[in-house]
């Protein structure tokens, strides 16, 4: 540490995380310890959940050694000259590193592993989250030394906010020339009793102590980093409630290669849970055609049967398409009730009331009716809309904690048998077959990659109502325009088409408006999707011919307005 230059500390936090209090504590600590220090911040409207920073400079030698001379501190951080960067959010840490703030020879980084996802990351229809692994790599690469742990969790456990954890981290790393008791005295703010009166102060001190110890014992760090990485992995590995138990039939286990067994088993179990063994058998049967096609292309299974595997995944999900029956079933299970209790942190003595937000419309009900009735019902709804009325929908708040609510959910869930006879079931099966045919054709007539890409397009199918319809339209459009060679470019290479499909699929998951998708389609020589008819309340300007008639209380004039 230099003794002729100030020690420079940058703190990154989000609005409402107590960064202001933190700087107050730090300055007070410096005062108690007898050192010259200065802090600045740029809160502004960042207080409203935005990202902001706090900057601190401390002169490394105590005031009494300075013979009355006063150091001149900088008000803003100087890139490359930081001794310590402390941050409550991983992406913000990396943002500051990206600004050139830290120096691999000088800067120690203590960052939370916690992510507070930005709106941009959250609003993507697919998965727009930043790659945690890459963020961690940046932290490692651009720091002299780094400590990473979940500050938010630590704060929660101590029943306080992250600022006191950050203070503990700063104290623990020893970059500043203050003793632990100096910091604690600042937090206590006058209260010298061994057990502070104020509950908040006690919580702050507890969090402070935890962070202090964590940072002081570097051994734990490696472990922590690993945990952060592993977390992502094992979260995916966990299987959801319910479906455990239903095992894959012996025959199927023989027929399918080992590489697809895990997904296959999950898919089979899902469909038994969703409908019945018979339906699950159809699943296996459909999949066997894909397997057949792939084994012709890749007999040795050099590509780990990825086509079959991907199809197994998306086929299972599509066949278990969501409808009111499924939703009612999922929402009325005992495990689910317990999960909700956990999520909302209801105490054992507390009463918990749960209201389910449903809004089934004509399509949802028509889905369960035979085709004939269904089409008549839909026609009626279309007529309504044509007359400028909103589509018919039934806004429900069903109390699943109440007898009547639970009863109605169970009754709906009991309509499972009716599902098969319903109009939607037939429609879905037809579209599923269409997609599967494309996968098979792509694999056998095109190339392995083409088949694989078409199989992966199963990802486009998800959800309910508008979302689902959009997904299907996109998938069908891709199949029609790219899966099979078009008249114009009949000799288009399967590889080229495979790449095109990959690009288009990614675009389709980028935004729900489909702008990116259409752009990608056109880029790859395919037509943009046909525009969907949508009812709009058209407003013509009333008597645009002669404006400002009527409404005006006075005829506008400039008289008396000039100055």
């Amino acid at each position: 540490m230099q003794t002729t230059q100030p020690i420079c500390v940058l703190v990154c936090a989000l609005g409402g995380e107590g960064g202001g209090v933190l700087t107050e504590w730090l300055i007070e600590t410096a005062r108690i310890a007898g050192y010259a220090a200065q802090s600045t911040s740029i809160p502004g409207v960042a207080q409203r959940t935005g990202a902001t920073t706090y900057y601190l400079e401390v002169f490394p030698r105590p005031l009494h050694e300075l013979q009355g001379r006063r150091p001149v501190f900088s008000l803003s951080p100087v890139p490359g000259t930081l001794d310590l960067l402390v941050s409550s959010e991983l992406l913000e840490t990396v943002r500051q590193i990206g600004n050139g703030m830290t120096h691999p020879d000088r800067t120690q980084i203590i960052t939370s592993s916690a992510r507070t996802l930005t709106t941009a990351e959250r609003m993507v229809p697919g998965d727009g989250r930043a790659d945690v692994q890459r963020l961690l790599d940046v932290v490692r690469l651009f720091s002299r030394e780094h400590q990473i742990f979940d500050m938010s969790r630590m704060a929660r456990d101590s029943g306080t906010i992250v600022s006191s954890v950050m203070l503990g981290a700063i104290a623990g790393c020893g970059v500043l020339p203050f003793r632990r008791e100096h910091y604690e005295q600042a937090v206590r703010g006058g209260d010298t009793s061994p057990e502070p009166q104020n509950r908040q102060t006690r919580a702050s001190l507890a969090a402070f102590a935890q962070a202090f110890d964590r940072v002081q014992s570097p051994r734990q760090q490696a472990k922590w980093v690993r945990e952060v990485v592993d977390k992502v992995v094992d979260d995916v590995a966990r299987s959801p409630d319910g479906e455990a138990g239903t095992a894959l039939p012996e025959a199927a286990r023989k027929r399918f290669p080992a590489a697809v067994q895990d997904v296959l088993a999950l898919g089979y179990a899902r469909l038994v849970d969703y409908q019945d063994e018979r339906y699950a058998a159809t699943y296996l049967d459909r999949l066997s055609h894909v397997l057949e096609a792939e084994s012709k292309r890749d007999p040795a299974g050099e590509k780990d049967w990825a086509i079959t595997r991907e199809t197994a995944r998306w086929l299972a999900l599509w066949m278990a398409f969501d409808d009111i029956v499924r939703v009612a079933d999922l929402k009325s299970r005992a495990q689910r009730a317990q999960r909700v209790r956990r999520e909302v942190k209801a105490g054992d003595e507390d009463i918990l009331k749960v209201y389910e937000h449903f809004k089934p419309g004509v399509p949802e009900f028509a889905a369960l009716l035979p085709a004939a009735f269904a089409s008549r019902l839909k026609a009626w709804d279309r007529r309504r809309i044509a007359h400028g009325k909103p589509a018919w929908e039934l806004a429900l708040k069903v109390g699943s904690h109440s007898v009547l609510g639970m009863l109605s959910l169970r009754v709906l869930a009991g309509l499972r048998g009716q599902r098969r006879r319903g109009s939607r079931f037939a429609e879905e099966q037809a579209q599923i077959e269409r997609w599967l045919a494309a996968v098979v054709a792509g694999t056998s007539d095109g190339s392995w990659d083409l088949g694989h890409e078409i199989a992966c397009c199963g990802r486009l199918i998800k959800g309910y109502g508008a979302t689902l319809e959009r997904g299907k339209r996109n998938l069908i459009h891709v199949i029609e325009t790219l899966a099979t060679a078009q008249g114009s470019d009949a000799d288009a290479q399967p590889q080229a088409r495979a790449q095109a499909i990959a690009a288009v699929r990614t675009a389709a998951l980028a935004d729900d408006s489909g702008k990116a998708l259409d752009a990608a389609l056109i880029r790859h020589g395919a037509p943009a999707r046909p525009v969907q008819a949508q009812p709009i309340r058209w407003m013509r300007k009333p008597d645009a011919a002669h404006p400002t008639e009527g409404g005006a209380r006075n005829t506008p004039s400039t008289q008396g307005k000039s100055r």
Binding site: P6, G16, E24, S39, T40, I42, P43, V45, A46, R48, T49, A51, F59, V72, S74, S76, V78, G100, T119, R122, P125, R129, A130, D131, R134, V138, V232, D235, V236, A237, L317, D322, L330, K331, S332, Q335, A337, E343, V344, K345, A346, D350, I351, K353, E356, H357, H401, S402, R459, G463, Y464, A466, D512, R537, W538, M539, K541, G550, G551, N554
Partner: protein, 717 residues
């Protein structure tokens, strides 16, 4: 507002010899009291809100001293308040955010500067320029120049800042010029200390009243013909007097340096950045001892030609370190030197960037260019670290190239009543087609960010309705103007509503009635629910803004015929109302009031109340929303319609699915938007509303016991 400044107010009471510890802006406030200020006013806005907020809360102590404090309706009324010092020996101070606030105040400032002042006047402006700024980037300096006001730009050291406050008033009295003091963002929030002096109770005050008004004196009116004489006085008497005072009291600081044949002229506010830059290239030490002589301008207007000439004369070169454009100071120095035939090479904006904040790295860049040219033994090596920084930035950028970091702009708080309105507006436009949206200043401007990205223009605080006047007449569809109650009272009522009614415009105005000027720090306004009402409220959780009808009655009084008030969180009804407004046959002004109290303020009221109830073991109901992970379809349409920080993502627990599912994390205040959106937009049925009742009543427990027994019987595993 319900934030407490108890500690800050104690700091204001400190007496001679005691040491003040705290933020710059509070030190300035203390400085006002030490100067015997008689009246204080202003309009809040970062970074100077604190000054007024503290003063308002310190009312009892201000009354003790006889200091009048006024929370003005806008900067214009604050500036007009300074008229008190034209005739009377009263020291007055006002504060606001600049440049915007100064723009609003400009008319009164001209009319104040022309006759000049008798009592000292200090205008503390937050120079919202550079990192962290929230307004258009312009310099306040121009106003000082054109109106003939002094401009103080103190070295950001608490002691120096307070000293300049005290001198500011004296300077103003010596020159009859109003004084402005510009404080940059970081200077307002810098934490330091200084030794206090006793506060001075003003001679004339709310406790020591004047018997008689001043006699009639036409020279003190900003009215022809004397305005012509006043214009001459500025140059002939006032500015020279100011210059004399600056020199006599050494307000500008001369700092010697080893290289006596060189020099740097710097704005006081940039002193610390300059010193660090000099350190970085080895021309200064940590204690501010510079190798280059410095002239630190704590007063940047008027400049003192003699002082500048003496400093520059005979030097090999002088560098002017000045922030922003145009480079007024550098230009004036050049003129003065030229007139005196001083040929010292002058540098400044030829080496430093014209626009933007002069941070240490940027400043050091220009500085080392200059140093390499003039300072013996200065090599490129001293500037090396800057190249290293650039390389490092490029390296990180390369690592993140495939997925650049998303921005994190501020956004609506958890449970904010304005978010649902934008959800409704998004849905409404699906029915009406997109409309031209005139945005405004305030929290609702966050609607311009994702996930809403709405708003075609921002023309200033309260200007949205006025700013569509030229658009709506020539557009087939109606336009929508968004305005907060803050902006409405700041000037939207007159510039927008009055004009629209007078001209019979066919316009739609959407007013966010949340009860406070929230973006500036939730200060009270005329339509804020009264304290009495808050006290009386049995259920502290409810929104109380409906209890104050000032906006509604005002609009009716002005002749608004089409007026609808909708509860903010009722998305379906808000959508319908907006569609009605945009399609109705009624021509003329249509006003939709979105009513919902600022959630920040509500939580400040609710939290202690809940804590109390729980402590006393009384019944408390807490609402939280949730998402069923196995029902959520991973499309995130709900997030695109909300953006609430507590509605976020988690890995999909279903091993078959790959896209993350939505989840509601701790911190959800149960505002109800998730449910309202789920219905209004027919989102997927994965949302549930959970009501957790702590300390339930005995009969509740009884019913619940029986009920859950049956429910459990019905549930499968």
């Amino acid at each position: 507002m319900e934030v407490s400044f108890r500690k800050d107010i104690e700091a204001l009471r400190l007496g001679a010899g005691q040491v003040f510890h705290g933020e710059g802006i509070l030190a300035i406030t203390k400085g006002l009291l030490q100067s015997g200020v008689a009246y204080v006013g202003g309009y809040q806005g970062a970074p100077v809100s604190h000054l007024l907020d503290v003063m308002v809360q310190a009312k009892p102590y201000m009354d003790e001293l006889g200091v009048h404090v006024e929370a003005c309706a806008n900067e214009a009324s604050a500036a007009a308040m300074l008229g008190a010092s034209i005739h009377y020996p009263l020291r007055g101070a006002v504060t606001w955010k600049s440049i915007v606030g100064t723009n609003v105040a400009a008319d009164a400032l001209s009319n104040l500067s022309s006759p000049g002042v008798k009592g000292g006047v200090l205008i503390v402006v937050g120079e919202d320029y550079g990192e962290g700024a929230s307004v258009i980037q312009e310099r306040t300096h121009a106003y000082a120049l054109k109106s003939g006001m002094c401009l103080l730009d103190p070295r950001p050291d608490l002691g120096q800042m307070v000293r300049m406050v005290e001198h500011g008033f004296a300077l103003s009295e010596a020159s009859n010029m109003p004084c402005m003091m510009e404080l940059r963002i970081r200077a307002c929030h810098v934490r330091g200390s200084f030794e206090c002096r006793d506060n001075r109770a003003p001679a004339v005050s709310t406790r020591a009243l004047m018997e008689e008004p001043a006699g009639f004196d036409y020279m003190r009116l900003a009215h022809p013909p004397v305005t012509f004489r006043q214009e001459k006085l500025k140059g002939e008497e006032r500015i020279p007097a100011a210059r004399r005072y600056v020199v006599e009291h050494g307000l500008n600081e001369l700092m010697p340096g080893r290289h006596a044949d060189l020099g740097i002229v710097v704005q006081g506010g940039l002193y610390n950045a300059l010193l660090r830059s000099l350190q970085q290239i080895g021309l200064a030490n940590a204690f501010g001892e510079s190798a280059i002589p410095l002239l630190v301008l704590n007063v940047t207007c008027p400049l003192v030609p003699e002082q500048l000439a003496d400093f520059c004369d005979g030097k090999r070169s002088v560098l002017v370190v000045e922030e922003g454009q145009p480079e007024y100071i550098e230009q004036e120095i050049a003129t003065q030197l030229r007139r005196r035939g001083i040929t010292t090479p002058l540098h400044g904006k030829d080496m430093l960037p014209l626009a933007g904040e002069l941070g240490v790295e940027v400043m050091a860049g220009g500085l080392s260019t200059w140093a390499r040219q003039y300072v013996p033994g200065q090599t490129a090596q001293q500037g090396e670290w800057i190249d290293v920084n650039r390389q490092r930035r490029e390296e990180v950028a390369r690592m993140l190239a495939s997925q650049p970091l998303p921005n994190r702009p501020p956004s609506f708080c958890v449970g904010c009543p304005e978010r649902p309105v934008f959800s409704a507006l998004k849905l409404a436009q699906q029915e009406t087609g997109p409309v031209h949206i005139a945005a405004d200043i305030g929290c609702h401007a966050f609607g311009t960010f994702e996930p809403f990205s709405m708003g075609h223009s921002i023309l200033g605080y309260g200007m949205s309705l006025a700013s569509r006047a030229g658009v709506s007449p020539v557009m087939q569809r109606r336009t929508l103007s968004v305005m907060g109650d803050g902006g409405f009272w700041h000037n939207g009522l007159l510039t927008g509503v009055q004009s629209a009614i007078f001209n019979g415009d066919d316009a739609v105005l959407l007013i966010f009635k949340n009860g406070y000027t929230s973006a500036t720090g939730t200060q009270d306004i005329i339509s804020t629910p009264d304290e009495a009402v808050k006290e009386a409220a049995v259920d502290k959780q409810q929104s109380l803004v409906d209890k104050n009808q000032t906006i509604e009655t005002t609009l009716k009084g002005m002749g608004v015929q089409w007026l609808r008030t909708v509860h903010s969180y009722d998305v379906a009804r808000m959508r319908k109302t907006l569609v009605d407004a945009l399609t109705s046959d009624f021509q003329g002004l249509k006003v939709v009031i979105a009513e919902g109290e600022c959630q920040l303020e509500r939580q400040r009221r609710i939290r202690p109340w809940i804590a109390q109830l729980l402590k006393r073991g009384e019944r408390v109901m807490r609402v939280k929303y949730g998402v069923d992970e196995d029902v959520c379809n991973g499309d995130h349409a709900c997030i695109r319609l909300s953006g609430c920080p507590t509605l976020t993502l988690k890995d999909n627990p279903d091993p078959l699915k790959v896209d993350p599912v939505a989840t509601v994390i701790d911190g959800c205040v149960g505002c109800g938007l998730c449910g309202a959106n789920a219905h209004a937009a027919t989102l997927c049925p994965s949302f549930y509303r959970a009501e957790v009742i702590t300390h339930p009543k005995w009969h509740e427990r009884l019913v619940h016991g029986l009920r859950s027994r049956i429910v459990r019987a019905l549930q499968p595993a």
